[in-house]
Amino acid sequence: MERRQCLEMIYPELEDRLVVTIMGACAQELYDLGHRDNFFYLQHAMGLASSIGLGLALHRPEERVVVLDGDGSVLMNLGTFATLARYRPPNLVHVVFDNGSLLSTGGFDSQTTSGVTDLAGIARAAGIEHVAAVDTPMAFGEAMIEAFERRALSVVVARVAAVGPDHYGMDLHLPENAFRFRRWIGGRGRTHGICDPQASVAH
């Protein structure tokens, strides 16, 4: 299974959601499918995509947030699973594309290669209830349909091949991406205040 296939599958569902991607191949492949102002590409600061997603989800409880993460990035911020589990925003779907590789920086094996480290297991042990580990397009599609329909924090770890695009480059400056992303969200209006994390914990 390739990440690009997965992104193509869910792309129509991303039209109305706040999407945060990690750097490199994942960002480029989403961009190549067609940029939208509700997509934010975190081209550096590895590990923080899910933290941005958490901030969005807690402060915009009426929106649906999707984080497109990777094994190399999430390994730099494993504490994020614990913080997500603590506040468990019901409107957040965290996808981790696990290619067992630091593909965008030379293709070195990551700690998940050959199943040494099990990211889905880490997410479950951190206290996240809904975690799926998939390695076929069919299973990915089903897991994503369930995650999108479920009104609960969901993590989907998708095992994908260590392949990426043959080119890199976007006609989009980084602050421009941030400004347009914020403006898109601002244009949606607000129907709720901040999500009460303590209430989420109590559920």
Binding site: F40, G53, G55, H59, R60, N77, G79, L174, A178, I185
Partner: protein, 169 residues
Amino acid sequence: MTVSYDNSKVVFEAIKAAGVRSVSALPETWLGLLLQRAEDDPDVTLIQVAKEEEAIGIAAGAYFAGEPHILLMQNHGFLAAINGIVSLAQLYSIPLCMLIAYRGHFGEPYPWHTRGGIVTEEVLRALDIPYELARDPDQVARQVRWALTLSHSALTPVALLLTRELMED
């Protein structure tokens, strides 16, 4: 030395007076009483992180969501969060209003705080992060408000260092 009950309240009230209802933090001794207030206040959302760099991401999310936000951390947490500050906040022009417990400077009895304390201001200067020291409780409300204002007008991280004079009795 004990943490100042009165000035912890002053800082918390300054945050609220600045119109902020969303706070992220990694608990530390000088921030304890302040965070207790945040936790007990039904109008304030407190998000506790496992490591300070997470809070940079959360603050960016809050900014994108249009919600004023303040980050509370120790100076060693600031040091631990630098890549996020540089490669998320500064790279993308995202404001951060950081209230930082300034441990390890003059009067510090604990050796483990000292190296971080000694380099804190130099690191802030190296990163072009505007900062002030909060010493006088009568000035804190203005300093918090102004820090927040500058962070949003300049779209940059801004730091207010909470000093020993303010945070200890």
